[in-house]
């Protein structure tokens, strides 16, 4: 059977996601949110999820629907503040002690995922040394500078958004759509990409921004 990673619907693509899964969700600032897949994950209604997502509260992402639906046990992110004075869905549950939160500097968040996908279990970074966010973490001095030991992040599932896929799952991105997708795709057992279009002609090798070896399933988003 020749490789063809297309799958008919977002629901089918997520049919085997179970309770307790750690889910990596890409997107930043309105670019590259896999909102079709996030909605399908809501409908799948797997519980006790750990979300690894840059922002738990971004207004253009549907991540808040998973949180409001009570499906999320823990969030790992760099931003969890709602825009308004009124508390966001995340903040209400967090204040009530119903969601656990791990807040990381954004570059540490990205590097932890990259490391997770690159076979590196932990790494030393100078970022956050001496701040509340790294309290209790191991510190080591190299040359004349202090570094904090941060653990890599891996997940069961990554939901990413790209522009074009070919049948092999090779992906290209538009503009700033890429953000966390390449790192997240390396660090999860199952990677589902939602794309604007699938081309039956293979993407020219030097134009591939994320190799299909990292992508398991491709869903076309028709909006």
């Amino acid at each position: 059977m020749p490789i063809d990673k297309r799958i008919g619907s977002a629901a089918q693509a997520l049919a085997d996601v179970g309770d307790g899964a750690t889910v990596l969700i890409s997107g930043f600032g309105g670019a590259g949110f896999p909102n079709l897949l996030i909605r399908a994950l809501c409908e799948r209604a797997a519980k006790d999820l750990t979300l690894v997502v840059n922002s738990a509260t971004h207004r253009y992402s549907l991540t808040h629907e998973l949180i409001e639906a009570g499906l999320v046990r823990k969030v790992v992110c760099s931003a969890a503040r709602g825009r308004d004075k009124e508390l966001s869905a995340f903040e209400r549950l967090w204040v009530a002690g119903k969601i656990e939160l791990v807040c990381l500097p954004q570059g540490t968040f990205a590097e932890a995922i990259r490391a997770g996908g690159a076979g590196i279990p932990a790494f030393y970074t100078p970022v956050g040394f001496g701040t509340e966010l790294t309290q209790g973490k191991e510190v080591r001095r190299f040359e004349d500078r202090d570094y904090v030991l941060e653990r890599a992040i891996r997940g069961d599932l990554a939901l990413i958004r790209a522009d074009t896929a070919d049948l092999y799952g090779n992906l290209t991105f538009r503009h700033a759509q890429m953000n966390f997708s390449p790192a997240m795709a390396t660090a999860a057992k199952l990677v589902v990409a939602e794309v604007r279009a699938v081309t039956e002609t293979p993407i020219p090798p030097e134009r591939v921004q994320l190799p299909g070896v990292y992508v398991d399933r491709v869903v076309t988003a028709t909006e």
Partner: protein, 227 residues
């Protein structure tokens, strides 16, 4: 003379950026620095989401939801721009490839400690974003902030009272009243608003101020403030 308004503070900081520099601008006042860069300076604006060479904010016709900056604004690209993923973008920051970052702040201590990410608002979730990465990774960290809080308290302090973003990282502060270098000896004033005495500036500051021998008047062209 009137204290500088927020546009004028951004203008003043923009004047000090070296031609050809790679610059990262924080949310709020710092993003306005981009409006006052001299075109011939050929500066590249880096944004944490992976854009190197951000151009002006897009017009409604140009706006593309896939092309945003770290403040979630829809932007354009300048000639020679490139786009990488987040892990690479932050490797660029930590690796010392950003010449200067200009950030907003709540407090700057005399040893260069920076507090700009958490005002301890009860029940609001944390938002650190890329602030800690920039504070540690950029080759120079400059701050634009009002000299005092809304209640009149100092923002230039002996030691930060709010949670730290980074230790001993800020080297220069642009306020509405002065331009201040932060070095081994603490705060050193390089420019101060014309007509403001040293005593007046000191009463608005929470740590001792020293003056550079060539301290000059702080001036900016009239620029109307609109967010």
């Amino acid at each position: 003379m009137q204290p500088l308004n927020r546009r004028q503070m951004a203008w003043r900081a923009a004047q000090d950026i070296e031609p050809g520099a790679v610059v990262n601008l924080g949310m709020g006042m710092p993003v306005h620095v981009a409006d006052y860069l001299r075109p011939e300076a050929d500066i590249f604006i880096h944004s944490e989401n992976g854009v190197i060479g951000a151009g002006p904010v897009a017009s409604p016709e140009q706006a593309d939801p896939d092309l945003v900056d770290a403040s979630s604004r829809r932007i354009t690209l300048r000639p020679g721009a490139s786009i990488v993923d987040s892990a690479w973008s932050f490797a660029m920051i930590r690796g010392g490839h950003i010449d200067v970052t200009i950030l907003g702040a709540f407090e700057v201590a005399k040893n260069g400690d920076l507090a700009n990410w958490d005002m301890r608002v009860p029940n609001k979730g944390p938002l650190v974003g890329g602030a800690m990465d920039l504070a540690v990774g950029a080759r120079a960290v400059w701050v634009i902030m009002e000299h005092t809080t809304r209640k009149g308290g100092p923002r230039l302090v002996e030691a930060c009272t709010l949670p730290l973003t980074g230790k001993a990282c800020v080297t220069r502060v642009y306020t509405d009243l002065a331009v201040i270098e932060v070095g081994p000896a603490g705060f050193l004033v390089h420019e101060v608003l014309e007509g403001m005495t040293r005593e007046e500036l000191q009463t608005r500051s929470g740590a001792p101020l020293a003056y550079a021998p060539d301290c000059r008047p702080l001036a900016a062209p009239p620029l109307s403030y609109a967010e």
